[in-house]
Symmetry: C2
Subunit: 149 residues, 2 copies
DNA sequence: CATATATCAGACCTTTCTATCTGAAATATA
DNA sequence: TATATTTCAGATAGAAAGGTCTGATATATG
């Protein structure tokens, strides 16, 4: 395997996408979310707990409880979700795995990978939950996938 | 964790870098390579076996044996090494993990991730072992790291 | 031919990631 | 207050990746 984000991080991002399409004041429970997204429920529970600790989600126990966004949707970027689950190592670590690789001691990939990595960062740092919510509204495919309307 | 390549793939790329700096006809044994790069020797052995099967390296048993490049250095791109170890899933799989994500059914990241992923591919597909060998020659840092000259 | 040196093949161990299970704690509602 | 519903916390299980070990096989060299 390879690829940018861990599976748990993918789940977190998918879950946040789902939350972005919900009314922001009411709580959504994890049975509905995991059912709809096809994600193992207990694992998504653990994952959302991490997002609660990171103050990205709020939780409420008991009947009518569940999760909702902890902040205004335009205040949270997807980067914050990635940071809460996978951390930020990918921003600094060498793409070839050389521990001592750096700007003044670059590996053969360093000068090409740096700008690309920055653009990956920009991609998730600039896109907020509000942006995603808009895109979901504009895409019938995504709406049906997430069971909206 | 996250990041593009698996650890084994990083080892393979580092090992190929080392081979790029060696005379191409003679064999280099794995004790020297793993020592120099700080990689666990048996694991690098396994990894190089995969590169032999992929016809990127040739091996020779016995005294004076070891590994050497199986082709001319300008005929092998770093992509071939990545393909031999990690495969090419990263070229097609959705960055958010949606199985059904595609051009006509895009996830909210699809249109931004696609071009970036293509550039990652270009980066490793265009760079050959010969290119890397040149860069190593031109960098005193890399030469000392790899113990050249 | 004997020996030392190297890769090869397969089994095995360890660590990390993914996923599940259980019971406790909180809370809406009857 | 009793009950059902939900998250929470910690332990546990399973799967995959990373890493080790052993013996077999090939070969250069004395």
């Amino acid at each position: 395997m390879s690829l940018i984000f861990s599976r748990q991080c993918e789940y977190a991002l998918q879950g946040i996408l789902y939350m972005a399409a919900q009314p922001h004041e009411s709580y959504t429970n994890i049975i509905e979310i995991s059912d709809r997204l096809g994600i193992p429920m207990p694992f998504l529970g653990k994952t959302f707990q991490l997002l609660v600790q990171a103050k990205i989600l709020q939780s409420q126990k008991g009947p009518k409880g569940g999760f909702r966004l902890a902040k205004a949707p335009d205040e949270v970027a997807l980067f914050h979700v990635v940071d809460a689950i996978d951390g930020t190592d990918f921003l600094t670590s060498c793409v070839l795995g050389f521990p001592e690789c750096s700007g003044r001691n670059p590996c053969p990939m360093h000068n090409e990978w740096g700008p690309l990595r920055d653009r990956v960062y920009q991609m998730i740092a600039k896109k907020t939950i509000a942006d995603v919510a808009r895109e979901i509204k504009d895409s019938r495919q995504l709406r049906t996938k997430l069971g909206i309307r």
